[in-house]
Symmetry: C2
């Protein structure tokens, strides 16, 4: 039966989840680290380049590339990966739940600080990425250098959100600043990405006008949805959610709306996680907030570890010496760029304490999935070669790996110093 192939994918899905769960438990219990770190490392261990190599089956623990039918190829969609698809659903559900758990009023209060942090966190890493790549890979051309700069500008909200959630710190001033900053950062990052992709096309010109337009539309949609949620939360409760009160499916319905909004924002060139997160924010302003969190959290807890283990599975640590060297330098540049570029605005615009500003700076360090998406786009567009792609992946993963270790002691130190209450 053809169905057998699904059951093997389900086995793969189950094995990755179980590895993630065990990794998360070990990290939390014995290393006193956030579970997400263990999930990433578990992914690296079971990846097709490590443990997965030992399993001869072409599906189990492998990243099967599936060819799409001719009707879709005509539209420019050539292939898909079943497990990557699930990982995309997982990150959308993760960001939706993060949105619902957000304290919307403080989100608005930290808007200005978040914007300043985002801009600071884009300028420095972009410059570092461009200059470092240019120094070591002079042959790769302007588009390639710009791409590596763009990879370093991205911020993965996923990792930091998860750490903040695990520590119950999502609703602190630092947590909200990071979230706002990361969302705005994402919009800026996607504008840069569009510009760089259009540059990489043969004979293309940089169109400042279209870049500005993409950014303006994206920001307007995001801000508009946020305002609708805050202003009309009462009507959303009454007309969108209440009809599902009787069958007890309000939370499920809200999550479905999040999935659909995640798609809709891609129509204005935003990344779907932005849509899922804003959908969450919309429901965070309704009376049903607690109910939605309670029933969508189990779905998130089920899927999110899969996403992080899947990220880990993308790392192939067998690279040349030069690539490793550039990788290490880029990791340092990416880390310092974000810490300096984000901590300074957090301190002087947001008036956070020194340790608070450091938490924001470090919280913006992980590139995670957004870095991977930009790197993948550059690779597909031919702007960077396979080795530089591997470097970009390693940078994305390592900035993600080191963040929990750097963030956790800061939170612990803050707990010991008497400080004004965080909420």
């Amino acid at each position: 039966m053809e169905l057998e192939v699904y059951f093997k994918f389900i086995l793969s899905f189950g094995l990755i989840l179980i590895a993630a769960r065990i990794g998360g438990e070990l990290a939390e219990r014995y290393l006193k680290q956030p579970p997400v770190l263990g999930e990433l490392v578990a992914g690296i261990i079971i990846s097709p380049f490590a443990l997965g190599l030992l399993i001869s089956d072409p599906i189990i623990l492998k990243d099967v590339v599936v060819e799409l039918p001719p009707a879709l190829q005509a539209l420019g969609y050539h292939e898909m990966k079943p497990l990557e698809f699930i990982s995309q659903v997982a990150v959308i559900v993760l960001l939706f739940v993060a949105g619902v758990e957000t304290d919307v009023r403080s989100f608005l209060r930290y808007g200005l600080t978040g914007a300043a942090v985002a801009v600071g966190g884009v300028v420095l890493p972009f410059a570092f990425g461009y200059l470092i790549t240019r120094a070591f890979f002079p042959d790769i051309g302007t588009a390639g250098w710009l791409f590596m700069g763009a990879v370093l500008t991205a911020t993965s909200i996923g990792i930091t959100v998860r750490i903040l959630m695990d520590m119950g710190r999502l609703a602190t001033p630092e947590g909200t600043t990071i979230l706002v900053g990361a969302v705005i950062d994402d919009i800026i990052g996607l504008v840069i990405l569009s510009v760089v992709v259009s540059m990489a096309e043969p004979g293309a010109q940089i169109s400042i006008a279209s870049a500005v337009r993409t950014g303006a539309i994206g920001f307007a949609v995001w801000f508009g949805l946020l305002m609708i949620g805050v202003r009309f939360g009462h009507y959303i409760s009454r007309f969108l959610l209440q009809p599902f009160r009787r069958s007890g499916t309000i939370p499920i319905f809200a999550l479905i709306v999040g999935l659909i909004l995640a798609y809709l924002v891609t129509l204005v060139d935003l990344h779907p996680v932005v849509g899922a997160y804003v959908a969450g924010l919309v429901f965070a302003a309704t009376r049903e907030k607690e109910e939605i969190v309670e029933h969508t959290r189990p779905i998130m807890l089920f899927l999110a570890p899969f996403f992080f283990a899947y990220l880990g599975m993308q790392v192939d640590l067998r690279m040349s010496g030069l690539a490793w060297l550039v990788g290490v330098i880029l990791i340092v540049g990416a880390t310092l760029g974000k810490i300096i570029g984000c901590a300074l605005p957090a301190k002087f615009v947001g008036r956070l304490s020194n340790s608070g500003a450091m938490i924001v700076g470090i919280g913006m360090v992980p590139r995670g999935e957004v870095g991977l998406i930009i790197a993948g786009a550059g690779f597909l567009a031919g702007a960077i070669n396979r080795e530089l792609f591997a470097v970009a992946v390693v940078v994305s993963i390592f900035t993600t790996l080191i963040t929990p270790a750097m963030l956790k002691p800061l939170f612990r130190r803050r707990e010991m110093i008497p400080s004004p209450p965080a909420r």
Copy 2:
């Protein structure tokens, strides 16, 4: 970016879920029917043969067939459908939760009755299916006639479980008899399937020995797992579940075990839902039962409507007059065969009341996904043509559609007649 294709699949997923949810609400509120009926009809309405036709995009509301890479084609796996894959995960989660919610002690108590019901429910429908198809399609050959018989023997636990769950009747004597009967029925059905598939292959012989072996192994594995759960539930709690107590992920871990067991039983030719269901039974015998149900139910409530809407989307109602006629006769035969074949053993072996025996008989009527799987296998093996395949699909769907309508009044009548307490 290639990722766009995922976002379209996510939109499709979201749209199907929203249609299912709205259909379920309408059925429940205005037609006083179980939500599952509305979900199936919503699926028929948005199917690629109805509303889906109006949408020009080749992904949205379409059943995209994706080609697998050469390494997998060499193993006999040629294609997959992304949405069908999710529907398989959904039915596995559904059966897992059904298993955990089962009252295991009464499960054992009703074992004999369940076996008698299963055998009765196989013999009559198989004979009807074989004879009716032989009368109307004399050219199609023995393998084809046997296949249509096999389609009619299958029982979809999914639908009935869902109805019983919605009504809170899963733990009644009738509910348990149906569940036990359907599980044993499934094992018998798969033995018949293996025999018929081997007959359909060119120049093949019927091997009674291999058929008996498949059945014996399947039954032994199923019974063995069930016994392990009941006998060693205490140890399962202590060594498998308790390590995940601290992070609060016991329910998620249990569900992951369910996914993996669903795969493992396919290695002895059982359908994965049997594995998921038995995994649920194993955990139903542990102290963590309530906790597992509480946190896996939201995941099931999120996914199950997708499965039923997806089933509905498979129906193409544009068929020839003869096909419709045979379809109607087969529906009558399939319904009467199961009602008579199951109600009599339920009454005389299980000593249920008249209305209780009728509930069991009607509860075994839906073919649902199991009927579709057998029909698909027959179509792929070349034993039945495309038209007969469509007939088999219609029979599977219609027996499923009519069950809630027949079952609901019986439960209502029983409530009015004073009877001994059901639990």
